[in-house]
Symmetry: D2
Subunit: 299 residues, 4 copies
């Protein structure tokens, strides 16, 4: 597998117009700006892309736009996980046709009590077997109620078409164990910015972080500080971004993320209900965090 | 609202052929048999109908078949909940066109940390406003990680187009509070057979129970015993069905349910992966429970 | 075992003076008033008796006082559970010497991950073997993080010196299963007033309820209504007490319970820190609930 | 505060003879051996010391023995947390009289729903006010069901007599936040060996680790590798100890810890029931881990 999955990737938001329709022009504008940064790639149609709110056609339109407008040095990953194995395979194949370099497949979770290690592994093996492009597994127990254990991940890492994992659990003991048990070149990507720096210390290769939609520069800075062995600087950057990261994920979700993006000049548009954009108090808090991080804020 | 929602309803399984394709003939056969029982109605495309594994077209085909083949004395409810408000409205309108008498809308849950009471209530209000048919809210915290509290349910019960709730939480204190706080004619339907009898004791009007796919007669018997004031008999029936109910829901899921249905002559077909049908040991346990309940078992 | 464990029992609060010292005179005054009610017995040194805050000497003084001042028609149960088996045995023997009729032993829980069914059962068997008085097991997962399953309870019910269980889980499916599986004369006592009526419907023999410290009359009324087959009245009483019950247990704890007792003329005294008595707003809410329940409130 | 709390400390086990009585001679033998290692201090009467199984007299005997037999270069910390504030103060004062250098106070937890930040902070403030020796707060949500948040810890760190925290949560985002928010010289000690290395990377000063009862040398080696900037070696040591650490804590508890200690020649004795020493299969697994870590194992 030649694909080099590392560095910082935003799980890019999907802009909607005030009438809730897809806004591909806004998406292009965001990509144009991200293209100028040190981001390594883009995750399209992930959780933060409100993929669960998109029709299959909308998902394809978003992915096609990202593939077309990503700078040549950026890779494109497509979120393609569905509840059934067959639907996941279909979505992954379609993403490959549309030009995605790799696919991110979340653990199925609606029938949580039935999602045993055996069934989850069989699911990922079947998807990887059928996929024309490398697959990454996505573990996000806080959202799914399902956890894929390190032993399962290690077994999956032996599959030639399973390239890595996005681990958003925030469970650093588990991430460390995954780095230890998985095959040498398996790409462990941390998906939780509140443990970005400790994850790197444990051997993560890179990060897929909601907050990098809005402050890609700081996220890239942190990973570069770490690579340069500047531990104290990496630690300080971690503290600097942790609070904003929490606000645009577990505290205020995609609504908070889009509000923060608007503050620094991106074009995220609205969210689809039942989500909402937070009110002025939260926006003020976000603005304060962004200012502290060195960003110019406009409202 | 003239619709009388009470009695026992199975959330009917969706039969698949060995190649995983929809098997509408098997569905008709099952309906023909259920039509001869005391079941009050059918829930199509619910959790146990593997709705999350069905394409929009497949969901429509299943619903249309149920509407056409249900006996005239049976009502039809359609599971129409989606993650976004707009997709839920679209699915509910389509269900009405296809002839469903009412719709069951599960709490959105992918973005669990954002599913505040305010947002959930706004979602249900918007769906009820737009729906041509009465809507029931569906609360199933074990699957969704989201709980809709009694105060929210009470407020929603004031909406003229919100007819009731399916509560699968198993939390009897909460169900009792809902019966107490909701408007007089609000249909509280218990969705967890392990608390079927206590829920009736607390004022539930009826039940939507996975296990009634396979032993509708016993479930109807229990509700009749309760209505007749035969408390001891109701209690004994509860004990008799509790273990099987657990096995075809939280223990072995839809796979267990379909295995049990096969044992008594229904035609449930296979499940779609990542779900699987349990192995021979579990099937033997299921057979023992069914025999104890007075059913003839064939393998 | 001749001991008849049924009816309503308060887990009596331990009064403290403003300087946090034990106030046995206040305890006697409370007992004198409870003696005039239909309560069946008293649980001394339980959770609501702040037993974890009492020294061994204080626990003995409380128990001796309750034994001496209980009316002849009231039984006395002593909370004697400790973390180690040997300390539990010692405390249980001491309680027997002091005149308790039976002992309530909570599941050990500090080492929760180690509290397997096997270890818990061995613990209760050893205590029951060594105890001169009948033992009841106490299951309270919300406080202990440990759940004793129905199969374990059923096995323990076979021990001639294990007389019953106090189940505070609020899990009615589990309580129903326990009634079903345990030996015929096993005393299942519900310990959670929010499911008092449904627990009776499932076959519970009686109740040990914090709220019966303050409104013993209503609790006794509910159990009598149920015994008389007046289902609708039992259900209405359940709704009437549920909110107060929640306020003096999971919402405001022992502090809330003592505040409510003061409002209707009992002498509960203060709580020991880190607990506190709730402020005026909560007291006002408690007063409103008590008034609605027909009690005269004085402040 | 002159006390330097850093380095590796074992929460030392309390040896019991086969008849469950305290074995102070075995304790002395263990201390003699630990005194020859690079351990920085000893925690007596902590969770792993089975403090909840010890009488007040036994706790005093253990502490006095540790104080007397610790090498002059080792500090002594005493676990003194009780459920009530007044009992905790009394235990802490007694520990000071017996010669402990500092005290570790766990969050009270029996009344978990009442353990608000305000009440917990008031508890620690009161204990620190009354204590003659510096106090460390102990946060262990997995055992207590209570979490003390970073903001609370930051406020407590301003108290001149609160010297640090033992954080066993394994939650690295939270530990990082604590290091960031607490006052400069606040001693953040990680209490969970599965995140030992990442905790150091986040700024923890040292560690209080059950597993350092049995492999103190490896734990000290890891902290030295980290201090020397040998990141890769620190990471490899982390992987090497993680599995054993899990086995002697969350998987097999104190029983597993004592079994492991016996294998390498310490004298831990038995555990008190309801705990038990694991059987031969687990012992074999422990032996394999110890051998892999370079220890000579004898059975």
């Amino acid at each position: 597998m030649a694909l080099k999955i590392e560095g910082v990737w935003p799980p890019i938001v999907t802009p909607f117009r005030p009438d809730q329709e897809l806004d591909l022009e806004a998406l292009k504008a965001n990509l144009a700006r991200w293209n100028t940064t040190g981001l390594a790639g883009y995750l399209a149609t992930g959780s933060n892309g409100e993929a669960v709110f998109l029709s299959p056609k909308e998902r394809e339109a978003v992915l096609a736009t990202v593939v077309e407008h990503a700078a040549p040095d950026k890779l494109v990953m497509a979120g393609t996980g569905q509840e059934s194995t067959r639907a996941t395979i279909a979505a992954t194949r379609r993403a490959a046709e549309l030009g995605a370099h790799c696919a991110l497949v979340v653990t199925p979770c609606y029938f949580k009590s039935q999602m045993t290690p055996t069934r989850l592994e069989a699911h990922f093996q079947a998807v990887a077997d059928a996929s024309p492009i490398p697959v990454l597994v996505y573990n996000f127990p806080q959202a799914t109620g399902v956890n894929l254990g390190p032993e399962s991940v290690a077994r999956l890492s032996e599959h030639p078409n399973i390239a890595g994992i996005k681990d958003s659990s925030g469970n650093i003991a588990q991430l460390s164990e995954i780095v230890h048990l998985a095959r040498e070149d398996f790409a462990v990507m941390v998906g939780n910015a509140e443990v970005f720096h400790p994850a790197l210390a444990c051997g993560a290769r890179g990060a897929i972080l909601a907050v990098s939609n809005v402050i890609p520069e700081r996220c890239v800075e942190l990973i570069q500080a770490f690579a340069a062995g500047e531990m104290e600087r990496a630690r300080r950057l971690q503290w600097a971004i942790a609070r904003l990261a929490a606000m645009v994920t577990r505290i205020h979700g995609v609504g908070g993320l889009k509000a923060a993006m608007s503050l620094v000049g991106y074009q995220p548009g609205v969210v689809r209900p039942p989500l909402t954009i937070p009110g002025p108090e939260v926006v003020q808090e976000l603005a304060a965090e962004l200012t502290a991080l060195g960003y110019q804020v406009s409202r």
